[in-house]
């Protein structure tokens, strides 16, 4: 080594200094971030840290009423699973049920009572105390009651069953207003109306898919969003693999839904002609297979619907209709069901009746189609408002007949088409009080928002309408302490009753919802001595009731068939308006749009297209080619009532004359995950109703499709929706299907 001169010496000093600093910093970088070990101030009594506690309660994400088990640790809800002992879902749960945690922990939840400061609909509010909010609301309601203007107060809620429904009804009755209504956009109004006409009761029958060997579904997407999706998915599993013989499923719908994709046969009948398909099959059954004593009468009733006469209008071949009739008639346990686009057109009720007739003629009454027993829990009728009723409410509001509107957990500004001008009518209502967990399109119009608990924080119960034959009731109990300064809807009503006083306090003397629910159950529980034990068992089990066998059910009245035949004779056949393009808004994972603010649901790919996060317009490859449209081209959809833009998605499972769009996106106010994302296809609709039920017509509507010239990238999981000979799907041997088709 040569001599170290001054310059080298400085270099060594520099290298040594830099090296030691680098070494020191390296040491720092390997350290973990500081974690804290935070003790409780006072030790908990009801749990041990690290040990999970499971609570049974009931899901509120849709009206099906599945039983759920919530896993909690250290007082926080961590995971939701299905309750294995619950007769509806038997331990299974759908994605929306799983995403219930997103509802509880949603950062957009309203955390304190709010009072409007800005313009109506601007979404500007100030936080106020519960005392002030309830005080002011009580002042308004008390004054109206005092001036004998009780009936100028209205209560509009979302789907509500059980004792909360009873509480609302009691409140409004004691207050002196007859105007308590529930508005449920995706309620199957046509099935209710058909049931009322044939069986004299608006309760929807139980369709026994589980024990069926042949299911003919007219548009009912029973695997995803028809009545009770989890229950019917279970039934489907049993139908396919539960017995010695594999059951057959046939789906008749213009756009292939999840159930269509799972069926053995899929027939895309022309939108609005599902009734003709049903009646033609019925006709063929009567002519060739049926031999009941009323055969002659049925032949007369169905004489105009010979398969060869109606085949052309439906788009199905005569031989197909006759074949379906043969299979239906020869099956041991056939069931025909209707739903979705088949019963949301302007002939929805007539279609439901035609499908019931099909069941009758195939011998399914009392077997595949059964009446449910009257519920043991007398919580009263649900005052369901049809779309027509909502238009009456709109007229009352814009006509100045409504002074105060209480609105709870329903979002008509979103689910009613813009052409109904419901928002304008709301704007003219002097006082709007919203009971809501979120600022949504409707509660953004409110003067007061009273924040409600998540269903995982509140007491309640549920009497499921669909899904089982048996009458059961589920209990809803808080699984966590409430996160924010919120109250349950029921508690708010009890509190208002107490503050307004008079008859209301007499009718609703309970201090809180827990007490109210417990007392209500005590009244329906016959054996008084053991109630405490019963209550403990109930909270543990989460559900009360049992499944019953077919023999225990109310028999179908003999008069039903005659009533059904009269209805078929009276019903006008079909809407003859043909359109170049039919619009089909369809229900998907977002439900009626209420799940759009749940991030897990937003990021869940659509089961058939695999698209995430946005709206899209499905159209047939043939149509796309004719119009020169590729995936991602932004299309403008226009009707006389409105227009919107959304990217195209080329989807083979759809008729060439139908464009379909999922419902659920396009919210103006619904929190960070839903705001201004995609478009709402309901805004393309007019206010036409099915006259028989008053339900909104949202299937078989004409629409214009044009290209805007812009392109976006559709966010989806699938690179390409075909297998392109990659042998990803192996068709069963001898099935004769090429490997080129198939999705995924």
């Amino acid at each position: 080594m040569s001599k170290v001169n001054r310059r080298d010496f400085l270099k060594f000093i520099g290298a040594g200094g830099a090296g030691s600093i680098a070494g020191f910093l390296y040491g720092e970088s390997t350290k973990k971030t500081v974690e804290y070990l935070v003790p409780q101030v006072v030790p908990p009594e009801d749990y041990s840290p690290g040990i999970a506690t499971w609570y049974n309660t009931v899901c509120n994400q849709c009206s099906a009423g599945c039983g759920i088990m919530v896993r909690t640790r250290e007082g926080r809800a961590k995971k939701i699973e299905g309750n294995p002992a619950h007769p509806i879902n038997e331990g299974r749960l759908c994605p929306r049920g799983q995403a219930g945690l997103n509802n509880l922990y949603n950062p957009d939840r309203v955390r304190t009572p709010l009072k409007r400061t800005g313009e109506r609909g601007s979404g500007e509010f100030e936080a106020v105390s519960w005392d002030q909010a309830l005080g002011e609301v009580t002042g308004i309601l008390y004054a109206l009651k005092d001036q004998q203007n009780s009936e100028r107060v209205r209560l509009l809620t979302g789907p509500t069953t059980g004792h909360l429904n009873q509480l609302y009804a009691t409140f409004m009755a004691a207050y002196g207003s007859p105007h308590y209504q529930q508005y449920v956009f995706d309620d199957l109004a046509a099935l209710r109306e058909a049931s009322k006409r044939v069986f004299g009761d608006g309760a929807i029958q139980y369709f026994d898919l589980e024990n069926a060997d042949y299911v003919l579904s007219f548009g009912a997407d029973y695997l995803a969003n028809w009545l009770s999706p989890v229950h019917y998915s279970l039934a489907y599993g049993n139908l396919r693999q539960g017995g010695p013989k594999r059951g057959t499923c046939v789906q008749i719908e213009p756009r292939m839904s999840l159930s269509g994709a799972s069926a053995d046969q899929w027939f895309p009948a022309r939108p609005g002609t599902e009734i003709l398909v049903a009646l033609a099959i019925a006709n063929a059954i009567v002519e060739n297979h049926y031999n009941g004593s009323d055969r002659a009468a049925w032949r007369t009733a169905l004489r105009n619907y010979r398969p060869k006469d109606v085949a052309a209008a439906t788009g199905l071949a005569e031989i197909q209709l006759i074949g379906l009739a043969k299979r239906m008639a020869s099956a041991e346990n056939p069931v025909a069901i209707s739903g979705g686009p088949a019963i949301t057109g302007d002939n929805g009720v007539a279609t439901s009746l035609a499908v019931l007739a099909l069941n009758y003629l195939a011998g399914s009454f009392g077997r595949g189609v059964t009446l449910k027993n009257a519920p043991e829990f007398g919580t009263g009728e649900r005052p369901l408002a049809s779309f027509a009723d909502m238009l009456v409410l709109r007229d009352a509001m814009s006509g100045g007949d409504v002074d105060a509107l209480l609105i709870s957990e329903t979002n008509p500004v979103y689910t009613m088409p813009q052409s109904s001008r419901f928002a304008d009518a709301l704007a003219q209502t002097p006082t709007i009080i919203a009971l809501s967990s979120f600022i949504d399109d409707t509660s953004a119009m409110a003067d007061f928002i009273l924040p409600t608990d998540s269903y995982l924080e509140a007491w309640g119960d549920d009497v499921p309408e669909f899904g089982t034959r048996a009458s059961i009731a589920s209990i809803q109990q808080p699984v966590v302490e409430r996160l924010y300064d919120t109250k349950s809807s029921g508690h708010i009503m009890l509190e208002l009753a107490r503050r307004i006083g008079g008859e209301l306090t007499v009718a609703l003397p309970n201090a809180n919802m827990e007490e109210y629910i417990r007392n209500a159950w005590r009244q329906s529980y016959k054996d008084d001595n053991n109630f405490d034990q019963f209550w403990r068992d109930l909270l543990e089990a989460g559900v009360s009731g049992r499944r019953v066998s077919r023999d225990d059910l109310n028999p179908i009245p003999a008069s039903a068939s005659a009533a059904l035949r009269r209805e078929i004779e009276a019903s006008a056949a079909v809407d003859s308006t043909e359109h170049a393009f039919y619009l089909q808004p369809y229900l998907t994972t977002y439900g009626d749009g209420s799940a759009a603010n749940l991030p897990w649901i937003q990021e869940l790919p659509d089961p058939l297209t695999s698209v995430v996060y946005n709206s899209w317009v499905e159209l047939n490859p043939q149509t796309a080619e004719e119009l020169g449209i590729r995936e991602g081209d932004v299309l403008a959809l226009r009707t006389e009532h409105g227009s919107l833009e959304a990217p195209a998605f080329v989807y083979p499972g759809i008729r060439p004359d139908v464009v379909a769009m999922p419902i659920g996106q396009g919210h103006k106010h619904y929190g960070r995950y839903a705001d201004n994302r995609g478009a709402n296809p309901l805004d393309l609709l007019g206010t036409d109703t099915d006259e028989a039920s008053g339900a909104l017509v949202w299937a078989a509507v004409g629409v214009e499709v044009t290209k805007t010239g812009r392109r976006v990238r559709v966010v989806k999981l699938d690179g390409v929706t075909r297998t392109l000979g990659r042998q990803i799907l192996h068709p069963p041997e001898g099935s004769g299907h090429g490997s080129e088709s198939g999705h995924g």
Binding site: F24, G27, E28, L37, P49, I51
Partner: protein
Amino acid sequence: MSISVAEALKPFKKPFYIVLVFLLAFILGAWANYNFRSDRTPEQPINFSHRIHASDNGIPCMYCHSYADRTPSAGVPSVAKCMGCHKSIATDTPGIAKLTAYWVEQQPIPWIKVYDVPDFVVFTHKRHIKAGLECQTCHGPVETMERITRVSSLRMPWCVNCHTEREVEHGRDCWTCHK
């Protein structure tokens, strides 16, 4: 004939020595950090002494860490448990004054975690206590420590060595700890 290191190193140029010095300094820096600025013995919000509690006063571990044999986590004692004794004991010391302040405010004490396994490891105290291990096997002679210090690496070889030595059933199965 003399042997000179300088002779052997002659072919190397000065930049090599600069890099060598840098590397030696790097190791020195890292060593200094490891020894003098370690996170094994972090300063806690209150100068709590295990020696005074466990040794001088002979309080068993499980009196305070009461969940150790029942749950995955041993459990740090609640503020209420501390106050159970310190309402009347040693109330004049600065540490207890701090404790009392937390209690009056009803605030938890933000202890700094000394023993921490990553989130992808499922560790449970209960199993290890049930297997008859002493607390000291992993945590060292805590009863002699003024301030708690980490004595084990808590890295996977350390876990697996012990599982192997003791012939733990399924002790080397991935899913025993990573699930």
